[in-house]
């Protein structure tokens, strides 16, 4: 891969993930604008800053995911948008209207709760109709809308059932239908798939994607499952300790993580040290590795293009060097692990710790190219490396 192709790729994903900096406040396509939003729980000794001056713009009709470990503030941000919590500071607008201090029943957003929170004393139809009744929609229209929703989530004929008579997946669909029936401007989903088993979760992921494109409603999806985030989202905001670390499309987040946390949290990563020699433009920089070899690496937009830096590279982007000259680093194979689809090699790199290389088993089992104890060279192509901010 040459430098030009790399730049083109980087440019494309860069614009898809558009840095929030070049978006103006009067963005017409913004569904939700979060500005310097802060939420502090408790006081005195027990003071916890759940959300620390977070700013992000969520566009209309997009599937936006808040991704992070538990306690990172993603659910707090969702609850602030829903109105269950009041912000300690900062602004929150929905389609240009400030809603930060409006009670939840006056916001045109609906939530799919982690626990589903279906009303146990009402039927499926009663649950779905609830929001419409509260808004004073005429009875005839409600009935039509309930039918339509049941068809949308493939539960036609279940009207008279009670939530307790449904399976977990069906309850999930009712919760979705109940929220979507109101045609909200924004649908908030708080880890809705976490209670489902693996197979059902995969099904619902596809289902959610379909519902989002069919209804054109902006989805804000909270999850701690990076796989879920990568497969479903248009854009992802990775959060940690009350801050948003990076916002971008799945490929950008995965291929070009800008911080140590993002690189580490999403997928597997090898970390190494290097030195930036010069910025090459289009988000690339020439870096020098500990071995003295030079490579092109992705460069976060807001970082000084000089000095010593941390670098990250994905295990599947690197390979064993065919010749000693092609090796960016030298290492010793410690362990070979067979995973069915792939084989993973754990290496000890001279002078910079552990590394992994992941190879697809195109030739079937027994195709492991190297054995434990062998000395090898690691080939790192241009562009596979990513400069990290920290």
């Amino acid at each position: 891969m040459d430098g030009k192709a790399l730049r083109a790729e980087q440019g494309a994903s860069g614009s898809a993930g558009a840095a929030p900096a070049d978006k103006t406040a009067a963005d017409k396509t913004a569904a939700i604008e979060v500005k310097e939003l802060t939420k502090i729980f408790g006081g005195g000794e027990d003071r916890v800053t759940a959300l620390d001056a977070v700013s992000v713009t969520i566009r209309q009709n997009e599937f936006f995911t808040l991704l992070g470990p538990s306690g990172c503030g993603k659910t707090t941000l969702l609850r602030l948008i829903a109105g269950f919590e009041q912000p300690s500071a900062g602004g929150l607008t929905l389609l240009g209207e400030a809603i930060g201090h409006r009670p939840p029943h006056k916001r045109p957003v609906n939530t799919v709760f982690q626990s589903y929170a279906l009303f146990p004393h009402m039927t499926v139809a009663g649950n779905i109709a609830f929001g419409l009744e509260m808004q004073g929609v005429p009875r005839g229209e409600i009935d039509g809308r309930v039918k339509e929703m049941l068809q949308l989530v493939q539960l036609a004929g279940m009207e008279r059932r009670r939530p307790a008579q449904l399976s977990g997946g069906q309850q999930q669909r009712v919760a979705l239908a109940r929220a979507l029936a109101n045609r909200p401007k924004v649908l908030l989903l708080d880890e809705p798939l976490s209670a489902l088993d693996f197979k059902l979760r995969k099904e619902m992921q596809i289902e959610l994607k379909r519902l989002q494109s069919q209804t054109g409603i902006t989805f804000i999806f909270v999850t701690h499952d990076q796989g879920e985030a990568l497969t479903m989202s248009d854009r992802i905001a990775v959060m940690s300790a009350g801050k948003i670390l990076q916002v971008g499309g799945p490929t950008e987040i995965y291929e070009h993580p800008t911080s140590h946390f993002v690189a580490d949290f999403i997928g597997e990563t090898n970390f190494l040290e290097g030195e930036i020699l010069a910025a090459e433009g289009a988000g690339l920089a020439r870096v020098k590795l500990s071995s003295g070899q030079e490579r092109l690496a992705g460069l976060p937009p807001d970082i000084a293009a000089k000095g010593k830096v941390s670098l990250a590279v994905r295990p599947e982007r690197i390979d064993f060097a065919a010749t000693p000259e092609a090796a960016a680093l030298t290492a010793e194979v410690e362990e070979v692990v067979y995973f069915g689809t792939d084989t993973v090699y754990h290496l000890q790199v001279d002078g910079s710790g552990r590394f992994t290389i992941r190879q697809q088993n195109r030739l079937g089992a027994g195709a492991a190219t190297h054995r434990a104890g062998e000395s090898v060279g690691i080939a790192i192509p241009d562009g596979a490396l990513q400069v990290l901010r920290d």
Partner: protein, 320 residues
């Protein structure tokens, strides 16, 4: 193994094993009855038998100095509504007992309604405290039970009588010239009943509300319901088993209250309980007392039947 043996696992056993199995089962059943017998005997002798005696007595004739004469008669029930003319035996409608029944019923209903009005918000407040504080609240609610009902009712008398706390204070402040007539009124009886039975309303409602998943309340707000609608459509229906249980627990003892009307009603404002006691005591008309007790029992059973109907239709209290 034949198909028959498959469908009946015991058929596969040797005959003596099957017999062992059967006798083991019999022994188990016998053991159950043995263990149950103390409870059954207690309930039978001290619970059911007195009721049967009262039922039988209500259909007999009164003896002159208390007790009964063993002659079948429905006079006791007739007496509840009619007076028999001494001269020509004709029946004259007399609403005196009917008034006592209806006063009892109204007072009990009033007590139930007011204790619901006070009890629900109290229970709601308790159920919405942090879990660590809730036990304290339950403890506080149950404190009145530590003292005898008689003592508590006497204290109430001290507060509301003419020279009681309320009247003395109001007169000291010059708000009233002469004492308010509080004691020995229906109001005093209702107040006493309310004070005695309020915990029976609070505790079951609290138990029901404590089990309510308050995330459902959030879901309600999320679906455009305001506070009132959330209360009406979500919280109250989910707490309904507790509300109904509380209403019954207040209504039934209030209906048959004895001490409260005596001490606070001054014997002027009789309730069913007093009527029954009077018939067995000074009036020496056991059949009439038994008949009044049976009518009270019928009223209570009616209330319970309504409860079962209401909760049964709603698919059981557990599911609201």
């Amino acid at each position: 193994m034949t198909a028959d043996a498959l469908s009946n696992p015991k058929a596969g056993l040797a005959p003596e094993e099957a017999i062992d199995e059967i006798s083991a089962e019999k022994r188990r059943v016998r053991r159950c009855w043995q263990l149950l017998s103390p409870a059954l005997i207690t309930i039978g002798v001290f619970g059911c038998l007195p009721l049967v005696i009262a039922l039988i007595y209500s259909f007999l004739e009164p003896a002159t100095y208390g007790g009964v004469v063993w002659n079948f008669s429905t006079d006791a029930y007739v007496q509840l509504l009619f007076d028999r003319d001494i001269f020509d035996d004709s029946l004259i409608f007399n609403p005196a007992y009917l008034e006592i029944f209806s006063r009892s019923f109204l007072l009990a209903l009033f007590t139930m309604a007011v204790s619901l009005l006070i009890g629900f918000p109290t229970a709601y407040y308790m159920a919405t405290r942090p879990p660590s504080q809730r036990d304290l609240w339950v403890f506080l609610i149950t404190i009145p039970f530590w003292t005898n009902l008689l003592i508590r009712t006497f204290s109430m008398q001290l507060i509301i009588r003419d020279e009681g706390l309320i009247n003395v204070l109001l007169m000291d402040w010059g708000l009233i010239e002469k004492p308010l007539e509080l004691i020995y009124t229906d109001f005093a009886v209702a107040l006493g009943l309310l004070y005695s039975y309020l915990p029976f309303m609070v505790l079951p409602i609290y138990a029901a509300l404590e089990r309510v998943d308050f995330r459902l309340v959030e879901a309600g707000f999320d679906l455009y319901a305001n506070r009132f609608k959330v209360l009406k459509r979500i919280i109250v229906p989910l707490a309904m088993p507790g509300i109904i249980a509380g209403c019954i627990l207040v209504l039934i003892p209030a209906l048959g209250a004895y001490i409260t009307p005596v001490l606070l009603g001054g014997g002027k404002e009789l309730m069913i309980g007093n009527l029954i006691a009077q018939q067995f005591g000074s009036s020496r008309n056991w059949p009439l007392g038994s008949a009044a007790a049976m009518v009270l029992l019928a009223m209570v059973l009616l209330a319970l039947v309504i409860y079962v109907k209401v909760t049964g239709r709603r698919g059981g209290p557990a599911h609201g």
